[in-house]
Amino acid sequence: MTGSAIATITLTASQVERVLAAFAAPAIDQQKVRWGMVIDLKKFNELPLAKRKRVYDVCKEIHNIPIFPTAKDRVEWIWPADFEHTFPSQFNHFLPEEIENLEVPVLCNHCENPPCTKVCPTGATWKRDDGIVTMDYHRCIGCRYCMAACPYGMRSFNWRDPRPFIPKLNPTYHTRTKGVVEKCTFCVERLEKGLQPACVEASEGSFIFGDLNNLESEISKILREHYSIRRKPELGTEPKLYYLI
């Protein structure tokens, strides 16, 4: 009786800490790895159409992403968008045409301060120590609160059973069931093997992936040397996906 009471109290104390931590922007820990990505839009847009398409397709193929006949059901991790809608606060009517017409690949920003994980009632989505926001498809109850919370619309829900709609099954990667949410994971399964994310590999150098905490990494150097922008930075979510224009 007393034992369980004490256990409850300690549990509550640790939970209180977690609540507080969830409301405060976490201090950036310089010791750990913190994965981030830079997309060089000019370089990417110079690629021929087929190569650009490959960047999106490779993700679909290796992650067993279904292709549904109806647009409303679609599941996507990375897709092409335009400048105006991706960067609504950077848009103006006198943008040079080549910027206005840029094709902008969008994917989960792996926010440093992610609103999506904050709202999840089950802990089915959370931020890992290396900064990647990931999903547990076995825990997700499909409430779609995270979809309401993500300010970028980067999450997809399995409105129907995805398995019959996977064009070619990749047996080394899992499939999802109907009723759960999914999104880009920065290819954690590849990072574990020491590989780069698949889209980065297919992008012919226009995507740069690396450790933002390491001042010597390529990504940190590029960010220091170029002016970069992020999506809706005014919301305080601190995206770790940067764009060069």
């Binding site: 409303k72 009632p121 619309g153 919301l235």
Partner: protein, 499 residues
């Protein structure tokens, strides 16, 4: 106590049968949704919450407010509400059950719903919503049931019950506030991300919940022997009036802020609901008629409610309450949820409209709630009427009229057989007679046995002490002689009992 639920007339059973059919249709549609996934709804990648969450949001309001209006009865011993308290609580309980069912049918993986409690995440508002809703359901059922049990045994309230009642009041406010925070706390949704969310919710709730309560009480008055007294209904009507005005005021404040400051990301959602979004030659305007209907109904209802003469007129009350209810349902239901997603966070305008299975499921959930409320209300009515019958002389109301305390004593009721005009002292006697003489089954004896109006009732004009045998006569007299409008004639015409 529970036996009252299975003792009913033809009307009662046909009503139950109708509800069961609606629930069955909803159940079948839900099976279809469960098999095929939520793709059978109108929801999409862009609009990922729709009719279900809209109804959930609205019903949280009903749940909270139906109770709060009747709680003063316990706290301040406000006698006029004595008979409606249990109804309020049962309505609240039924509404909470509907809320939970709506969440359940909205989940992609309802089989895992317990993950919310097995893996609780204290940073998610949804956890607190879950706790507050389930706690609230428990509180309501325990309180209402105990009160009824006490009433059956004619006992006073015990201390623990009073404590529970005290807890229930802030709890009711909390379910509402927490639900508002569910939306208000999202930085990425400018349509919801406003501190006004919780107050707006409360105001809307205090208009819609009591309206529903009034409508149900009026229905009960009409179809059963249960009479909560028009005074109590009128008092609840006052609450509706204030709340509806506050609700419209807050909507106005919201609209001013959005349109005058014109922050584009806030503005676009409001443009969508009020005028539609133009893209090329096409206008996305599916929600425009919806929102305007709600606004116009709300404004008309508010005007009718603030004029006391109109508000207190029994003829209009059901009608205005119906308008309030529909207006708030449209505005705090789908009208609050769906436009938050249009345009989407990446600027796409994709519209939403519920599909047939989705609507049938929603209707089914409403059916469940109404069925639960009907059964609970039936029990409450049964217990209350029985109590009235047993008590020889019940002190009903203590009305202070011009500082003179008047005690109105209600006579024991009489029952008359409609078929042969025989009069009996109790309903049971009359039922027995109906069965023996007219071959009417006991279950439907309410068709034959009606309460006989005590013939001794008289009305007295307070201003000149003239006595009338019916209220209308007295009102006419008041109008002619004392220039008192008929609508407020209850101020001068009081019931008197002849010795």
């Amino acid at each position: 106590m529970i036996e009252h639920a299975i003792r009913g007339g033809k009307l009662y059973w046909s009503w139950i049968a109708l509800l069961v059919i609606i629930i069955a249709a909803g159940g079948a549609s839900y099976y279809y949704q469960y098999q095929n996934g939520l793709t059978v709804t109108g929801m999409s990648k862009e609009v990922s919450w729709g009719l279900y969450i809209g109804n959930f949001t609205f019903l949280v309001g009903v749940a909270a407010s139906a109770v709060i209006v009747v709680l003063p009865a316990y706290l301040y011993d406000y006698k006029k509400f004595k008979k409606v308290t249990t109804m309020g609580e049962f309505l609240g309980a039924a509404a909470v059950i509907m809320c939970m069912t709506f969440i359940l049918v909205d989940l992609g993986r309802p089989d895992r719903v317990l993950n919310v409690v097995l893996n609780p995440r204290p940073n998610s508002v949804m956890l607190y919503d879950f706790i507050s809703l389930s706690g609230y359901l428990l509180l309501n059922i325990v309180i209402a049931w105990t009160v009824l049990a006490y009433r059956e045994k004619n006992k006073g309230y015990s201390t623990w019950l009073k404590i529970l009642i005290f807890v229930a009041i802030p709890w009711a406010i909390s379910i509402h506030t927490v639900t508002a925070f569910l939306y208000g706390g999202l930085v990425g949704r400018p349509f919801w991300n406003t501190a006004l969310m919780a107050p707006r919710f409360l105001a809307g709730a205090f208009a819609s919940g009591p309206s529903l309560l009034i409508i149900s009480l009026l229905v009960m008055r009409k179809y059963t022997n249960f009479d909560p007294g028009y005074d109590a209904i009128k008092k609840i009507g006052d609450v509706v009036a204030f709340a509806m005005v506050a609700n419209l005021f807050m909507i106005g404040a919201e609209l001013f802020t959005v349109f005058y400051s014109a922050h584009p990301h806030h503005l676009e959602h409001f443009i969508y609901i009020l005028f539609g979004i133009k893209e090329g030659s096409f206008v996305y305007a599916r929600f425009v008629p919806w929102m305007w209907t709600s606004l116009i109904l709300g404004i008309i209802a508010a005007i009718m409610l603030v004029i006391p003469k109109v508000r207190n007129e029994p003829k209009f009350l059901a009608f205005t309450c119906g308008m309030v209810f529909i207006s708030v349902w449209m505005e705090k239901g789908m009208g609050l949820i769906v436009p938050g997603y249009i345009p989407s966070q990446w600027g796409a305008v994709v519209e939403y409209w519920p599909t047939i299975p989705e609507s049938l499921i929603s209707l089914g959930v409403w059916g469940i709630g109404i069925l639960i409320f009907t059964v609970l209300a039936k029990v409450a009515i049964g217990v209350t009427l029985e109590g009235e019958k047993i008590e020889e002389e019940v002190v009903e109301e203590e009305e202070v009229v011009e500082e003179v305390e008047e005690e109105v004593v209600e006579e024991a009721k009489e029952y008359r057989c409609e078929l042969c005009d025989a009069v009996f002292k109790s309903l049971d006697e009359c039922c027995e007679h109906a069965e023996k003489e007219h071959k009417i089954a006991k279950a439907s004896c309410d068709m034959a046995c009606v309460e006989a109006a005590p013939a001794e009732k008289q009305y007295k004009c307070e201003l000149c002490d003239a006595v009338f045998t019916d209220l209308d006569e007295c009102c006419e007299h008041a109008e002619k002689e004392h220039k008192i409008a008929k609508a407020s004639c209850d101020m001068v015409c009081g019931e008197v009992e002849e010795e």
